[in-house]
């Protein structure tokens, strides 16, 4: 058990190194001349020389990478080219709205998606099943920003029930969280339905029924306990999708989170900010993946330390 966890944590290291090399090279790929990127096109020769000296841009690439990584690990992600504030500071002030949004959307998706999947699987091809599956078909084909704009139009502008943008209390969270959760609801519902239906066909379910167990206990004790295991993996993957979906949702709802910080950073070529946010999001995804693997092993003892 501990061995497995240690091995999984060690396996994260190469991934994080690759991610960091990629994130580091964004500036080199994009800028061509990094000094020009930092100093701006109107910088004088003298200023460029100063920047080159200060950031060590004339040193070999692997040395630059090492310095950058050492600083990043210690929480120094450089300075925003736009505001001249430390990137860590920019991220810190923007992380809460994103975290709120992602966790709320995940909670909604889990509750509604899994419930829909279970209801569908209990009565396959019934009216409820068909409605749920129709919804999940529509849900995965709708662009996130389209859902957001529709909700803003009807609930925000037309009915005036909820604020259409910004951040603050719970009222500001409702529309973005619903918007973000739709596609995850759809995916979770389909996944729950199909894995539950798979389990129902197993012999031990037939045995449970044959020995006279009522349908309720059979479903709760035998079908759901096993049927929901694959759902855990999907939850892990969906959390990553929610984070990247937050980039869109935050832009639609003018929510001051790190997703919007990222988009604005790319548009204004503020590379240190872009690097910082991407690095953070990648680390979060990798960590969530690790947690999911561990949880998976805890709930399904058949998987012992594989991988």
């Amino acid at each position: 058990m501990t061995g497995f966890i240690v091995r999984r944590i060690l396996a994260m290291i190469p991934l994080l190194i690759i991610v960091s090399i990629f994130v580091f090279s964004i500036m080199q790929l994009a800028g061509g001349n990094a000094a020009l990127v930092i100093g701006g096109t109107d910088a004088t020769q003298e200023e460029l020389a100063q920047i080159t000296e200060r950031y060590g841009l004339n040193r070999p690439m692997h040395e630059q990478y090492r310095t950058w990584l050492t600083n990043a690990v210690q929480g120094d992600l450089g300075q925003s080219l736009l505001t001249r504030r430390p990137v860590t500071e920019e991220i810190r002030t923007r992380i809460l709205p994103t975290a709120e949004l992602a966790f709320t959307a995940m909670a909604i998706a889990l509750l509604v998606g899994v419930l829909m999947g279970i209801m569908s699987a209990r009565r396959p091809n019934s009216l409820i099943d068909n409605i749920c599956m129709l919804f999940s078909f529509i849900g995965v084909a709708m662009p996130v920003f389209g859902i957001g704009l529709a909700l803003i139009y009807f609930l925000g502008v037309h009915l005036g029930w909820l604020p259409t943008g910004g951040a603050g209390g719970l009222r500001y969270l409702v529309l973005p969280a619903i918007t973000l959760s739709v596609s995850s609801i759809a995916i979770l519902a389909r996944m729950t339905r199909s894995s539950t239906l798979d389990v129902i066909r197993h012999d031990y379910v037939r045995t449970a029924r044959a020995k006279g167990l009522a349908e309720g206990p059979v479903f709760r004790g035998h079908v759901l306990r096993n049927g929901l295991i694959p759902v855990i993996t999907v939850v892990g993957l969906e959390f990553g999708s929610l984070l990247s979906g937050a980039v869109i949702t935050e832009t639609v709802f003018s929510r001051p989170g790190i997703g919007r910080l990222l988009v604005e950073g790319i548009r204004s070529r503020d590379y240190p900010v872009v690097q910082g946010v991407l690095l953070l999001l990648a680390v979060v995804c990798v960590t969530v993946n690790l947690i999911v693997d561990i949880v998976y092993m805890l709930v399904d003892p058949r998987i012992q330390g594989v991988g």
Binding site: V19, A141, L243
Partner: protein
């Protein structure tokens, strides 16, 4: 067994596949709708008198009329023409992205599965790592590196979809790599490339086709999302996602300017999904009931 039997067997197989596909009404509906959309986008421009970029402020945000069946946008440009021209761009970018992912991903996957050992381990470790990062985030990272732009968005979404294709191709490749006819092909001196293309690729074709169709839907959504964020084609290029972003300022008074391209994206993505699901069921009847 007569020499022709293998061929006729595979022919009847594909007939059965087609029959199963046609039996699924939803898949058929998807194919039909998509065909109409593609046709409209390809031949539509020949029937349009207004070119999509023609600005006429005197008819700014005009309602639907005979001249402008879907009305005009804030610059007086004909909405229908813009949706049709925008559809060209959206569909080209989507197909281009998936084609990139299909070609690169399949090459990686087949090679890894066929050569095995160290090559397999290195390539697949890399692919598995990339699979942990959500596709859309990967696409954003690539756009960040390449900078915003029409074709950069296509490349970004394509690159992000490579790992999925590589996984599937490797699976199919592994399945047949140990079989006798591959050994036989090797023995009679067929080159690795020939074995990969002639003997292994056909076995991977079915799952790859299904994956491509389903990927087209996600690629369409990713590309329009990136465009909506302002990272894709820049105005005045009429791409569906970009059109929706352009019209945001007139959102409360002219919601239809956002609605029409939104519906277009939805319909195409839904069609790709319906066709993909239908194909999966048709090609693999064992899986169909779930």
């Amino acid at each position: 067994m007569p020499p022709g039997s293998a061929l006729s067997h595979s022919k009847s197989n594909s007939m059965a596949t087609l029959r199963r596909f046609l039996h699924r009404r939803t898949a058929l509906l998807g194919a039909l709708v998509l065909m109409i959309m593609v046709l409209a986008v390809v031949i539509g421009p020949f029937f349009l008198e207004n070119t999509e970029g023609q600005i006429d402020l005197s008819v700014s945000r005009a309602p639907a009329s005979l001249d402008h069946p879907l009305g005009t946008d804030f610059l007086g440009r004909d909405t229908l023409s813009r949706i049709i021209y925008g559809g060209r761009i959206s569909l080209i970018l989507t197909t281009g992205a998936v084609a990139t992912a299909l070609i690169v991903g399949t090459t990686i996957g087949l090679t890894a599965g066929y050569l095995g050992n160290v090559v397999d381990m290195i390539l697949m470790r890399f692919v598995d790592m990339l699979l942990i990062i959500p596709g859309f985030l990967l696409a954003i990272a690539v756009v960040a590196a390449l900078g915003p732009g029409t074709y950069n968005v296509m490349i970004a979404v394509g690159v992000a979809a490579i790992p999925g294709f590589a996984r599937i191709a490797r699976g199919s490749s592994l399945l047949v790599s140990g079989q006798e006819y591959i050994t036989a092909a090797n023995t009679i001196g067929a080159s690795n490339v020939r074995v990969l293309l002639r003997h292994i690729l056909p076995n991977a074709a079915q799952p790859l086709i299904v994956q491509s169709t389903l990927r087209l839907a996600t690629a369409m959504l990713s590309i329009s999302s990136l465009s909506f964020l302002g990272l894709g084609p820049q105005p005045p290029t009429p791409e569906w996602g970009a059109m929706m972003a352009d019209s945001r300022d007139y959102f409360t008074t002219s919601p239809e300017l956002i609605l029409y391209p939104g519906i277009a994206i939805f319909i195409v993505a839904l069609s790709f999904n319906l066709i993909g699901d239908g194909l999966r069921d048709a090609l693999d009847p064992h899986l169909s009931q779930s």
